[in-house]
Amino acid sequence: MRIAIASGKGGTGKTFLAVNLALKAAETQTTLLMDLDVEEPNGGIFIQADAADVHKVTRAIPIWDPGACNLCGKCISWCKFNAIIKLGEMILVMPPLCHSCYACSELCPMQALPMEQQSLGEIRHLKLGKLDFTESKLDIGLEQSSPLIERTLEFADEHFGDKELQLLDSPPGTACAMVSAVKTVDYVILISEPTPFGLFDLNLAVETVRQLGLPFSVVINRDGIGNNDIYKYLEKEKIQLLAKIPHQREIAEMYSRGEIIYQQVPAVDEALNQILSKIRSLS
């Protein structure tokens, strides 16, 4: 069972929920948590173990062969992502802009742009009892998250396909990175907060998940800070409210120190129990 924890925007408690849920689940079953917020992975602040193994991730990029090139310049017009430019007698490929589509490489009349594997980022894996945790980080200077997200998911299939529960801390927003993370899962848990910002962003996330045709439900974080509009929305849209996590300053304090929260705050523990029993009823 693979479950994504997602939200319409950052800062709603996505990582907080993912980390606490994973640790709690791992008390009784084999669990995998993947931090796929590859631009700004933060899960590793909360989950620490002595030994971590690091796996390099690569992808194919065209490398210019000056000996073969006749400077026809066609590759520049083929590349829809402006990843190739011509500087005088030189063809330059910019890896951060390349989408590895192979068009320039395979269309080049002189075979002057062979594809080679180049570093994309890394997956750090560590193990803590029944919990396996992976954190994926894009190389500095690279911008496209989706390829790394896809490779991490493949990596998980390969090495951790047998885990009873696979949780994924998805990138924030509803843009392509979030979609590439969420589209492979069995179920989505959306997390939001009861404010107009939270409602607006949740609405976008709900539309996205519906468009992907995935079953989902909602957890409300910081219950008590705003108003009831979000609950009315859930009722009207017939969306299941899975759990509420109360608004408490202590939670923010513990979180800021990188602490695990459910063992210290019974209300959080209770919310996690509700979520886990839902998850277990799915499989």
Partner: protein, 290 residues
């Protein structure tokens, strides 16, 4: 005309709330640009009306004309994104997977493939209840927030500021460290980093500041929820001093942030005696530094 950009790296630091409060203080002097188009929230406080709406196009998707397609399958073979599948004796494009690279378009022997410009969202210029103009955008689902959209929001804000003779543009910047945030920073005169007192707040602050340094734009920082973790807050202060980032001030953890948002107001409207002096001073500080 000067452009001030507020960014935060990580979500949930109170960036939009701070942006709205500054807009309130300086409403006579500025045009507001919401470049955080992934989670455009400012409009929830500023209540835009009389919007001038334009469609926004970016990137392409392939489309196969089944009448021209002879089902040779070449496009499916070369597509690295598995975005082409057999369909009723010919082939079709799976929109969600299509990367818009155009490779299939170049190889199709029948010219059966067209590349269609993608309408990825809307772009709006609106009046607000504060009186200042707001330039903002709504991105469609799964669309990529590109530098193009952010650049467009900013350049439209600039045109507005010119015709309205406003001296400042206040931009709520994009999150992350990618192309949109680069476009948010491009052309800025001053950057305000909003961070929060937590380990993740500090690590995200460092990542965005790296980018700001690359652009060589002077920056200042507001530490929100500063009393949540005094240890981290003092680490942040040290980091600011070491990197010559102007420390504008600390804001203690305040329920007013949530209360104000819940009512669709900015902090100052929520509690004027408390917040007006703080943000007036911030605004003064910003103007002095520019």
């Amino acid at each position: 005309m000067k452009e001030i950009v507020i960014i935060s790296g990580k979500g949930g630091t109170g960036k939009s709330s701070i942006c709205a409060a500054l807009a309130y203080v300086a409403k006579e002097e500025l045009v507001v640009a919401d470049c955080d188009v992934d989670a455009a929230d400012l409009h929830l406080i500023l209540n835009p009306k009389n919007s001038e709406v334009q469609d926004f196009y970016s990137g392409v998707l392939a489309e196969i004309d089944p009448d021209k397609c002879i089902a040779c399958g070449l496009c499916q073979q070369i597509c690295r994104f598995a975005a082409i599948e057999p369909h009723e004796k010919t082939y079709r494009v799976i929109d969600l997977e299509c990367e818009g690279c155009g490779y299939c378009y170049y190889v199709c022997p029948q010219d059966a493939i067209t590349l269609i410009d993608q309408n990825v969202g809307k772009f709006l210029i609106s009046d607000t209840r504060y009186g200042c103009t707001l330039v903002h955008a709504h991105l469609g689902i799964g669309a990529d927030n590109s530098g193009k959209l952010v650049a467009k929001v900013k350049s439209e804000a600039k045109t507005r500021a010119k015709t309205e003779q406003k001296a400042y543009i206040l931009a709520d910047g994009s999150p992350g460290i990618g192309c949109p945030v680069i476009a948010s920073l491009a052309g800025a005169d001053y950057v305000i980093l909003v961070t929060e007192s937590s380990k993740s707040g500090l690590s995200d602050l460092k990542r965005v500041q790296e980018l700001v340094t690359k652009f060589q734009i002077p920056s200042a920082c507001i530490v929100n929820k500063a009393d949540i973790n005094p240890g981290v807050t003092s680490d942040i202060h040290k980091y600011l001093a070491k990197n010559k980032i102007h420390h504008m001030g600390d804001i203690p953890y305040a329920e007013d942030f949530h209360k104000a948002i819940a009512m669709g107001r900015c902090l100052i409207e929520e509690n004027e005696t408390r917040w007006l002096p703080i943000f007036s001073e911030y605004w003064h500080d910003i103007k002095e530094k520019i």
